[in-house]
């Protein structure tokens, strides 16, 4: 029988992150969100706990854990706030993971220790203004000239790319053409490289305490040795990274969905209307029951995808299913939780107000819900 109980270590990690989220994140995050400020102090605390090193081996200052441990941490953070959760998700799964998976030993030793400890953050730049879902439409170019990659182009919506502690961005770029089409490769561009500029951050609907920037490259030169993985394998590499990342985003969505349950349950017991707790009305009880059911089933979906991944089985379809159902659960639960809170739910300072604003991006980032459905149906043999 499948067994979804957590072992002792994972349970203790979950409880530790839950405590951190409750005691360190919850009291201050609304202020950062309102000011659209990146919470350096909280991120430092997450780094000291080793969260950025969870799935990496100790030789790179990692924690020697697994991807599932990362997912549990993401779920517990997102139960309280999604901005800090996406900072962790993007930092680990998009930032550090490509370097770990595809980097040479030199590249790993050079960049990973700072990333695993959370002293620095890395970003992954794939999306461009003319194409997100269609990642093969990349226009950014990198050409090899005199032992250096010369990068020209731009990227949009890149998480973690413009913080004071960002150390690098891995960008996908066209490095040549073959009969099959564009040859796409991944090149590491350290922050501060001449010709690489980061435009000020966007005004976003949600995730307001996270960092998202637009990047421009104008004759930006980096050493040839900054090629990450094999030349021409950039597309295949990031497909692998995105497959894994979907499990992480699913965990984040489950956290948000569960956070909506936590808040609603508390409020339903506290708030009175017409002389009774609103939680005594069946209309509210059923909403909360449905919310719990959605969070629970979405959690099982990401546990299953993570379990397959750790057993080394194919997990592509399960990861897409997990992301699809979890982002649905997050959206539905955020809508219902806001409803349960009435007017207070529409206020930015309440957690559910933030949940409502943070949920939508889950149906868009790291593969839209349409893309997930495309991937699922393709895995089922429909073309």
């Amino acid at each position: 029988m499948p067994d979804y109980r957590l072992d002792e270590e994972h349970e203790q990690l979950r409880a530790t992150v839950a405590e951190f989220a409750r005691d360190v994140v919850a009291p201050v995050i609304a202020g950062y969100y309102e000011r659209e400020e990146f919470p350096y102090d909280i991120v430092r605390g997450m780094g000291e706990m080793g969260l950025f090193g969870l799935p990496f081996p100790e030789e790179y200052e990692g924690m020697g854990g697994d991807y599932f441990a990362l997912c549990l941490a993401l779920e517990e953070l997102a139960r309280v706030d999604s901005s800090v959760a996406i900072t962790l998700e993007a930092g680990v799964s998009l930032g550090a993971m490509p370097i770990y998976r595809f980097g040479t030993e030199d590249q790993r030793l050079r960049w990973l220790p700072d990333l695993c400890s959370g002293r620095r953050l890395a970003a992954f730049g794939l999306t461009e203004s003319d194409g997100g879902s269609d990642a093969q439409a990349t226009r950014t170019r990198a050409s090899l000239e005199g032992g250096e990659w010369v990068v020209n182009g731009s990227k949009v919506f890149i998480t973690n790319s413009g913080t004071d502690i960002t150390s690098l961005v891995t960008v996908t770029a066209v490095t040549g053409r073959s009969e099959a089409g564009n040859e796409i490769s991944a090149v590491v561009v350290p922050s501060g490289t001449p010709g690489f500029t980061v435009a000020g951050h966007y005004s976003k609907v949600g995730w307001n305490a996270s960092n998202t920037c637009e990047l421009a490259f104008a004759d930006c030169r980096v050493p040839e040795a900054n090629l990450l993985g094999e030349r021409g394998r950039g597309y295949a590499q990031f497909l692998r990274i995105l497959d894994e990342g979907r499990i992480a985003i699913a965990a984040l969505g489950v956290g948000l969905a569960q956070g909506c349950v936590d808040e609603s349950l508390r409020y339903a017991r506290e708030r009175t209307a017409f002389g009774k707790n609103i939680g005594s009305y069946q209309a509210i009880q059923f909403k909360i029951a449905d919310m719990e059911a959605r969070a629970h089933t979405a959690r099982l979906a990401y546990y299953d995808a993570a379990a397959r991944m750790s057993r080394g089985e194919s997990f592509k379809k399960q990861a897409s299913i997990a992301k699809l159902v979890s982002s649905n659960a997050a959206m539905d639960n955020a809508r219902e939780a806001t409803q349960i809170f009435g007017g207070y739910g529409f206020m930015n300072e309440t957690p559910v107000g933030r949940f409502y604003r943070d949920a939508k991006i889950l149906e868009i980032g790291e593969g839209t819900s349409e893309v997930q459905r495309m991937l699922i149906s393709r895995e089922m043999g429909l073309r």
Binding site: L13, T16, G50
Partner: protein, 263 residues
């Protein structure tokens, strides 16, 4: 002093975030009613011990008396970085008062060789007697430096800034000694996943009363010096005092706060 051999006392208490109550039958703590966690003040004690160990080298042993469930508190201290643990667990200990508890803890500490420093929290968030560190020092024949908000070890001397309502006192004593720490001492670290995994492999010695040479009739509810006869929930909060500002509002508020010894 070469390296330090430090003992930290920890206690599993009901989580202050959950509902805490006493049992109806014998007015002891209803341990099933609330989630159990390591007492926060003990986390600070562990943190202080770890800081001392990091500065001077050595070893940190946590000692805890409590039911089987106390293993969770012990594991947390080990995950934070403590090296080993002694868990005193015996059904006969149920309902023990502070003197009995101090005696048991003292016997357990005597089983550890060459202790330089015993670190404890000022008072637990459940019983709130705040007497154990002093009693323990007395029983072990060691100097007591209580209510510390700062601890320093140099050579064979421990120096403490003691903070109470009366102000700050600077204390010093030769090691070995007993130190109890207050809320302001430090911010305890969160265990890392590496720490959590390492904790599983650290040695935990479980001792019963027999191992400590204590007769069960000396401890527990029946033999306790104190007993709780009755308990009632705390009355609802009063309405508070209203100060109408007639030009002297600020002064009157300060006078009120001064009378409460808050400023």
């Amino acid at each position: 002093m070469e390296t330090m051999n430090i003992v930290v006392l920890i206690k599993q208490v009901p989580d202050t975030w959950s509902e805490r109550k006493l049992t109806d039958t014998d007015h002891t703590l209803d341990r099933d009613a609330a989630d159990a966690v390591i007492d926060e003040i003990n986390e600070r004690a562990v943190e202080e011990a770890l800081l001392l160990k990091e500065a001077h080298g050595g070893k940190v042993t946590v000692v805890s008396m409590g039911p089987d469930r106390a293993t969770d508190a012990i594991r947390k201290a080990l995950s934070m970085g403590a090296d080993e643990a002694v868990h005193i667990s015996d059904a006969a200990l149920h309902g023990s008062d502070t003197i009995q508890t101090a005696k048991v803890l003292a016997s357990a500490i005597r089983t550890i060789e060459g202790v330089d420093l015993v670190v404890a929290g000022n008072e637990a968030t459940d019983g709130r007697a705040g007497a154990i560190p002093a009693m323990l020092a007395e029983l072990l024949g060691l100097p007591q430096l209580t209510h510390a908000r700062r601890v320093e070890v140099e050579g064979t001397e421990v120096r403490v800034e003691r903070e109470t309502e009366d102000g700050i006192t600077h204390l010093a004593a030769e090691l070995p000694a007993v130190v109890s720490v207050g809320e302001k001492i430090n911010e305890p670290r969160y265990p890392s996943f590496k720490g959590i995994m390492a904790a599983k492999k650290k040695p935990v010695t479980t001792l019963g009363l027999g191992d400590l040479g204590i007769d069960p009739s000396e401890v527990g509810l029946a033999a306790a010096f104190t007993s709780v006869v009755e308990s009632a929930p705390k009355p609802p909060r009063g309405a508070g005092e209203r100060v109408e500002d007639q030009g002297d509002g600020g002064v009157r508020i300060v006078e009120y706060l001064a009378a409460q010894k808050l400023v």
